[in-house]
């Protein structure tokens, strides 16, 4: 089922649509609140991506009425309003997640994937990519154990779990270190460099790739 994007800014709508479609999500678009509301109550969508400030009716009013009518489709809010009160209001009205502009597109993709993931989904015991194997407690490459620190293991787990996705530095910092730290330091770069030294450097096939300006991705190229 497609995603519904309700966004009045044409440029934003265009890049969201393009980006999501290129990542395998079919998209239907609405340019104002009323149109979005009518589409949402009529059609079946997996997820609604909703801007807050919209012409004709606000995103808040749209979600309020959708929830009142019993529509349970997950909603991800996009907004430039980022006070705690705004976040709380959005979540209170029934939003499932909240993303503040400006955001990294990779961040949006990650949230979309996480909202679409079926509940009860569990990580398999062992995940593998090429000759990299990851169990609950250790990592092997080419059958040989790779010695990782706790943080490095967490980092590798994240990359494996989200393989093929470009992960931003902010997302990595939050997931691995629980740090909401838009740091000026190069913590993530350093951690990645050390992980590569152990996971990639001794091997012919490189798995961890830097996407300049965006972040990091684990995949076979």
């Amino acid at each position: 089922m497609p995603l519904l994007i309700v966004e009045d800014e044409p440029k934003a709508l265009a890049y969201l649509k393009q980006g999501l479609e290129e990542n395998g999500f079919p998209v239907q678009a609405a340019a104002d609140g009323e149109e979005g509301f009518q589409l949402a109550r009529g059609g079946a969508f997996d997820l609604i991506i909703l801007d807050v400030m919209l012409p004709s009716r606000s995103g808040w009013s749209v979600i309020q009425d959708l929830r009142r009518e019993g529509c349970a489709t997950p909603v991800l809010f996009l907004t430039a309003l980022d006070t705690v009160a705004d976040r709380v209001k959005g979540l209170d009205l029934g939003a499932d997640d909240y993303l503040v502009k400006p955001f990294a597109f990779s961040e949006l993709l990650a949230r979309v994937r996480s909202l679409l993931r079926r509940p009860g989904h569990r990580r398999p015991e062992t995940e593998a990519l090429a000759d990299l194997e990851l169990t609950r407690s250790d990592a092997r490459r080419g059958g040989k154990q790779v010695n990782l620190t706790r943080q490095e293991f967490l980092l590798l787990s994240l990359l494996v779990e989200r393989r093929g996705e470009v992960l931003s530095r902010a997302l990595i910092a939050r997931q691995v270190w629980d740090m909401n730290h838009d740091s000026d330091t190069n913590v993530v770069e350093v951690a990645m460099r050390r992980l590569r030294r152990k996971v990639d450097d001794p091997f012919e096939v490189k798995l961890i790739h830097t996407v300049r300006g965006l972040g990091y991705v684990l995949e076979v190229r």
Binding site: Q151, W177, H181, D182, S183, T185, V187, R193, G213
Partner: protein
């Protein structure tokens, strides 16, 4: 007494006028009342004396010339001289029968009317009456005091007019005094009208004010000082912010323009876009930090404080930086004890900013020591490095937004320490910095436990 009316308070001028009028009315009423009473009393005493004197004269004739009706008649019918005022009517009775009486007295004041009375009214006239018994004789006298009454009445009326006149005068005086007294206030208002964001430098002159208003003028001046500083900081901040935005925008525009100026291979465009992403991230960081500062500086900002385990806080921050410290050859260690009361996310961010700064300032072989705990009931977050140190002249500017120490080569936003300070202030605490060039810097956040 309350001057409050239902709708709005009375004007000061009206209040003073009323107070003056009421005060003068009360004082004058008492004074004039006494005056009037005294005047009346004097007249009464004189009249009593006159009447008694006349009866005495008649009694004397009766005593000296008993059985001499001619002498008695002469005495009784004698006209009181005009200079003595109204004539005194006299009647002499013997055994209930009139022996002799003044002309016209029989009609005007019959004997029965006078008997036993001290004041008698007859035919619109007012008499003072007296009686005296002398052997078989009864002597009655009556003094016409109608004129005295009229005089007293007119005296009282004149006093009343005077009273009203004075009261009116006093209320005018009160209004004028209020007007005069409020003049300095009007001049304050006049000066205040001239002050706006562009002219915050103007001040009131407390020396030119009466003593009572000096304090007001001084408080207003102090308020203007504070506003002036706040505005100045705001101006500087917006100027700095615009300047900070200019650099990444310039890079973005320049790169895009050059890239678009001619056809290039796709790889070149990719490079420009990648470079743009870096600038965008810089802009995003700048905006989110500025917004964070704006939010925590909102006077209405409150934080939710809860228990924060010092060991956990330290552990997270150390885990975040340990790899970087190791790469840079800096020993990063810490000690923690106890439980603080604060906002865990904010405290972590503050500590992380401090450690990031310390690591950036410390060369290989150095040491960064972190301490989180309680000191005499104060929560303490301390980061001590053996880095290059900060010259004394730079210390006062450390917390200024966008301030970067000389020789700092990191691409920081210059907002890190301002954020640390805001977080400390949100917890009701302070940040202290001590530093020695070449020996290192210690930054300490301290805030009271609630």
């Amino acid at each position: 007494m309350s001057w409050k009316s239902a709708s709005r308070p009375l004007s000061l001028r009206l209040r003073l006028a009323l107070v003056f009028a009421a005060g003068s009315l009360a004082t004058l009423s008492v004074a004039l009342g006494f005056l009037q009473f005294g005047f009346r009393h004097e007249i009464n005493v004189r009249n009593d004396k006159l009447l008694a004197g006349r009866l005495q004269d008649v009694a004397a004739v009766l005593a000296n010339h008993p059985d001499d009706p001619a002498a008695l008649a002469e005495e009784v019918l004698e006209e009181t001289p005009a200079s003595m005022g109204s004539p005194i009517l006299v009647r002499v009775e013997r055994g209930g029968r009139t022996v002799v009486e003044s002309w016209g007295m029989g009609d005007l004041l019959p004997s029965g009317l006078l008997r036993g009375s001290s004041q008698v009214r007859a035919r619109n006239r007012h008499f003072l009456a007296a009686e005296r018994s002398l052997g078989p004789y009864r002597v009655q006298g009556a003094l016409d005091i109608t004129a005295d009454d009229r005089m007293a009445r007119s005296f009282r009326q004149n006093l009343l007019y005077a009273l009203l006149l004075v009261a009116a005068g006093c209320s005018l005086l009160g209004a004028w005094a209020a007007h005069l007294g409020l003049k300095p206030l009007r001049s304050i208002a006049e000066s205040a009208r001239g002050i706006d964001a562009q002219r915050l430098r103007e001040r009131l002159d407390p020396e030119a004010m009466p003593r009572e208003l000096r304090e007001l003028a001084q408080s207003l001046n102090a308020m203007l000082d504070r506003l002036d500083h706040a505005f100045e900081r705001l101006y500087r901040f917006s100027a700095d912010l615009a300047h900070e935005l200019r650099t990444p925008l310039n890079n973005l525009m320049g790169e895009a323009e050059v890239a678009l100026a001619k056809d290039r291979p796709a790889e070149d465009y990719r490079q420009v876009l990648e470079s743009s992403m870096e600038e965008f991230r810089r802009l995003t960081r700048l905006i989110s930090r500025t917004l964070f500062l704006a939010r925590v500086e909102d006077p209405a900002a409150v934080i939710e404080r809860g228990p924060v385990d010092a060991g956990q806080l330290l552990g997270k921050v150390l885990a975040f930086f340990e790899a970087v410290a190791e790469e840079e050859g800096v020993a990063l260690a810490g000690e923690a004890s106890g439980t603080l009361t604060g906002d865990p996310d904010l405290l972590r961010q503050a500590l992380a900013n401090l450690v990031a700064n310390a690591l950036a300032a410390t060369p290989a072989g150095g040491r960064v020591q972190v301490r989180v705990g309680l000191d005499d009931g104060l929560a303490v977050l301390e980061v001590k490095d053996t880095g290059r140190g900060i010259p004394a002249r730079e210390l006062p500017h450390l917390f200024d937004r966008f301030y970067r120490t000389a020789g700092q080569d990191s691409p920081g936003t210059g907002l890190g320490l301002a954020i640390v300070q805001s977080i400390a202030q949100l917890h009701g605490g302070t940040v202290e910095v001590s530093s020695e060039v070449g020996a290192g810097t210690t930054v300490r956040i301290r805030f009271p436990e609630p």
